[in-house]
Symmetry: C2
Subunit: 239 residues, 2 copies
Amino acid sequence: MGRGGVTGRLFGVGVGPGDPDLITLKALKVLQGADMIAYPAPETGPSLARAIAAPHIPEGREEFAIRMPMLVNRFPATEVYDQAAERIATALDHGRSVAVLCEGDPFFYGSFMYLFGRLADRHPVEVIPGVSSLMACAAALSAPLSARNDVLIVLPAPLDDAVLEARLGLADAVAIVKIGRHFERIRTLLERTGLAEDARYVERATMDNQRVLALSAVDEKAVPYFSMILVHRRGRAWI
Amino acid sequence: MGRGGVTGRLFGVGVGPGDPDLITLKALKVLQGADMIAYPAPETGPSLARAIAAPHIPEGREEFAIRMPMLVNRFPATEVYDQAAERIATALDHGRSVAVLCEGDPFFYGSFMYLFGRLADRHPVEVIPGVSSLMACAAALSAPLSARNDVLIVLPAPLDDAVLEARLGLADAVAIVKIGRHFERIRTLLERTGLAEDARYVERATMDNQRVLALSAVDEKAVPYFSMILVHRRGRAWI
């Protein structure tokens, strides 16, 4: 416990999908007030979450890059999060506030939950919701994500084909996330289920290098993690 | 076509879920630059979208409240949107820019799509994605919406019980939206399917009068339109 027995506050800060202007005023205020700013980062090189928030990070603030070894299944290396949580807990115990930057929204498939799970029992935590990739991709496509009484489903691409196929048919709108190296399998699945024509691929939504492509135009060897496929059965029937 | 043959730009602006600080910098910039600011409003009384954005609306700007008669099924009165689209089209044809305020995100069950459907063919339209109620409710609950390879499904409460039940079992995380007068039926359905214990009710997330309740504590006669039920089967198993 820190100054006067006050533990610091931990913030999970959604910085939005990529365009630095898609950060919220609330996130900005937290960044300006935090004693330490932490963010996920690859083993070497820059952090995307930090790059998105870069224009808004005060100079000279203590920063903590949580460097994650590259993993095929992209689930966390337990020790990395254990150590990161320990360093953050020490700061909180000294009464310092810590803002953890999260691409998109912290609670929508965000790695923040691994810190949250380790720290929320002992420290006050506040999550600042952000604009998620789901809404950013719909805006990039210039097409409604869900309208009227549409059922919307979000499916992670690493799931088995059988699991995905059983769910594809039960929604009006489908968002397939975490595509990366699974692209070719997903494209084949959507072709087989007759959904490929209604699907659009969005890469790096709202970033400078955003691309929107028909599935047939995608090079399966160059699909980044930050990509999504949106399928809407109704086409323009909302009008 | 307006000044110099230039048609104005239409913006669908997500103003976020309720807390005025959950608006994005990009939305702020659009509001500051728009010639006209339009928003949905009830037949009488204030507009929620305008109330959320109120601190950010420049004084003296032309405003247009699109007043919608109260409808039981909450789908649009065609004539209201026809007339609103006509007034907005006239402004755009005169080279003026128009920002339409949308609670949450414009393309996530937003009424903006009815204007979009009437205007996007003839005028340039840009959608500014916003923080949606989905992410706001997860933040209010202080619990991840979706983690790892979770399947997330969004179900509008007005759908039939059989439609809902067939989908409840196929997702790890469920968000039930548009609850309002359907609350009691949904509570019964969740009890019958064994999901009531894992469900939380969130009302007016991020607003001053936000409430988070167990289903059993909700007064079914006082459920506002801006409420949501989140169910997560995994509990805290993401840790």
